[in-house]
Symmetry: C2
């Protein structure tokens, strides 16, 4: 059963990505097409694919780049978008999602990718992989198209947990900075804390306390703390990592997506308005394509669950082959860099104690 | 002093708008140009203008549409963007902003417009106009470009107060619905409550309680409650009024603005890329202009402070003549419709009590 992985993949030093083939809106064909795109571009990835074996065997056989690169694990059931996370925990043992996550748990794969139900994937990941020592609340980190040179900012938490106190926010800062180093190759990422103004007296009490904690840890954790940032800095260039609670992060993310999609719609309408504007649209085709590529949500596909013993990448439910391939690329990068281990070390070394305790312990060392 | 207003304006049944001419980023010239645009289009507005009298007299004299329509009130001082609200409360009696708000307080004007410091304007408005009976936290309502037929949604609170409990959220729903009826002519506005998901079990406890309170009051307050909505619905078409606390609302607003401005920048870059794309840009000029007009922040200019004895419209600090004129148009509409009185009546009639108390009092009536 595990033959392909062992011989064709792991022994060649490939990074193994465990992929949930079912549960996305476009079904397993889009997932297989996506991993095939990735396999073609990158000889160092191998896959363990979870789902309906007969169906997956047919789909994989049609893709030449996947020859000798994929091991298929049969899973009877599928987690649907409507399933409640608690139901999945009780009755989901035979689902492709469970099987995909467990491959990371038992060390067969470095990282897991799924397009399925976010809530269920999060709960499964927390229960099966368990939280890293010292992490109270795991977080979902997303990439945000931005004015920065790297083209994206990282925002967390995008909605794993609706609450976060000052210690959680410090952990998000540490995890986000680590992600920026390993996923984006930013040696010294700039971290900002989301608030309603940039003055230090603004915002909720836990934000002012988090401001202090994060500032204390910036030097030792090798990031630059730029202090409070505002909503407009999410797509801006003053920070690479932006930290917030999951409620605010989720609203901001969906607001940004909604705004971009309204503008896209209005732009299309504007170009359909008159014969001249239709001609302009034709001439502007490559320009508009260039813009589209820059803010294409499929290219920033992949929320990453941080704070667990293992890395899980959540791809959009509606991901097509391009989207799946983008998520796999990110998963590969994080898996290959040993991100989970580095993140664990970073969180473990952080100082989350009140200032006076910190100072006395420093004096003692 | 009050001659012009009394004779040329009030006695003709004009709606009087009190305008703070100072404190905006572009100075009094932009404000005077803005009210002149409004005066030209609308014979039913009169103005009381507050600021440096010699300077304002010169500016007003140059604008023909303003002849006989403006009374100037001298104010020695100006509230700067850097002034802290508390400083303004202590030492701001001679500022144009104070004078402009007091004109509404003493009944000389129906509504006030300022481009100045938001925090100071809010605090001044609350202290000088006082909260409506029954209102705990006043709110800032903003217009949001949307996919709705009216082109805009109303969101509140956009940042007057970073906290809001379930009773505050109910008041925001009532105030927002009243604003939609009087400012947008929507007879039965659809009201949504911002959350991280649309299922009733989601979100913070106060949101679930607010859901119940708002649902109870929808029928009597003559709006349709569409339940929980998400960030993507702010520019969407499922609700006309979206209710949230001031922290979340402020982050969402600035995220939306930041996203729109990033896309605008990328669009301009895309069209500058090659000779062909520059030609396309030329042909697309009117199309792009049409889009620009649709999402131009100057056209949606004017956050409105709700929940006070009187209406105050906050125009963007960087407003030019077009922006000021848009804010004046909104102020006129609200002043003319007797919005403040209607809002007061609406809030007073609302049921913000626990369900059992409500039922027994209904039985008694």
């Amino acid at each position: 059963m595990a033959g392909l992985t062992q011989t064709a993949n792991a022994e060649d030093g490939r990074t193994i990505v465990s992929v949930d083939a079912m549960g996305g809106d476009r079904g397993p064909a889009a997932v297989v097409a996506g991993i095939s795109l990735s396999a073609k571009k990158n000889p160092d990835i191998g896959f363990i694919l979870h789902g309906d074996k007969p169906q997956l065997e047919k789909l994989v056989a049609r893709k030449k780049p996947l020859a000798g690169r994929v091991e298929i694990r049969h899973a009877e059931d599928v987690v649907s978008m409507e399933d409640k996370p608690s139901q999945v925990m009780r009755h989901g043992k035979n689902t492709s999602m469970w099987s995909a996550v467990d491959c990371v748990r038992n060390g067969e794969a470095d990282v897991c990718v799924s397009c399925g139900n976010t809530g269920a994937l999060m709960m499964l990941s927390v229960v099966r992989l368990r939280k890293l020592p010292g992490v109270n609340r795991p977080a979902i980190a997303v990439l945000w198209p931005s004015a920065n040179p790297q083209g994206f900012n990282i925002m967390l938490d995008a909605g794993a947990d609706i609450r976060a106190d000052e210690h959680d926010l410090l952990q998000y800062a540490l995890m986000g900075a680590s992600y920026a180093r390993n996923g984006m190759e930013l040696q010294r990422p700039r971290v900002g804390l989301l608030n309603v103004g940039t003055e230090e007296h603004k915002g909720r009490p836990e934000l002012r306390e988090a401001h202090e904690l994060i500032a204390q840890n910036a030097e030792s954790a090798n990031f630059e703390f730029v202090g409070f940032v505002e909503g407009r800095d999410l797509p801006g260039d003053v920070a690479d990592v932006i930290v917030t609670d999951g409620f605010t992060g989720n609203v901001a993310l969906k607001t940004g997506e909604g705004t971009a999609s309204l503008i896209g719609r209005l732009l299309r309408e504007a170009f359909k308005y008159s014969p001249l504007s239709r001609l302009a649209a034709l001439l502007a085709y490559t320009s508009l394509n260039r813009l589209n590529k820059r803010i294409d949500p499929r290219r920033v596909n992949g929320g990453v669950f941080l704070g667990l013993n293992g890395t899980v990448v959540k791809s959009h439910g509606s991901s097509d082959a391009t989207g799946v391939s983008a998520a796999v690329k990110l998963a590969f990068k994080l898996g290959q860099s040993g991100f989970s281990q580095k993140l664990a070390a970073r969180v473990a070394s952080a100082v989350s104690l009140p200032q006076d305790t910190l100072q006395s312990s420093e004096t003692n060392n």
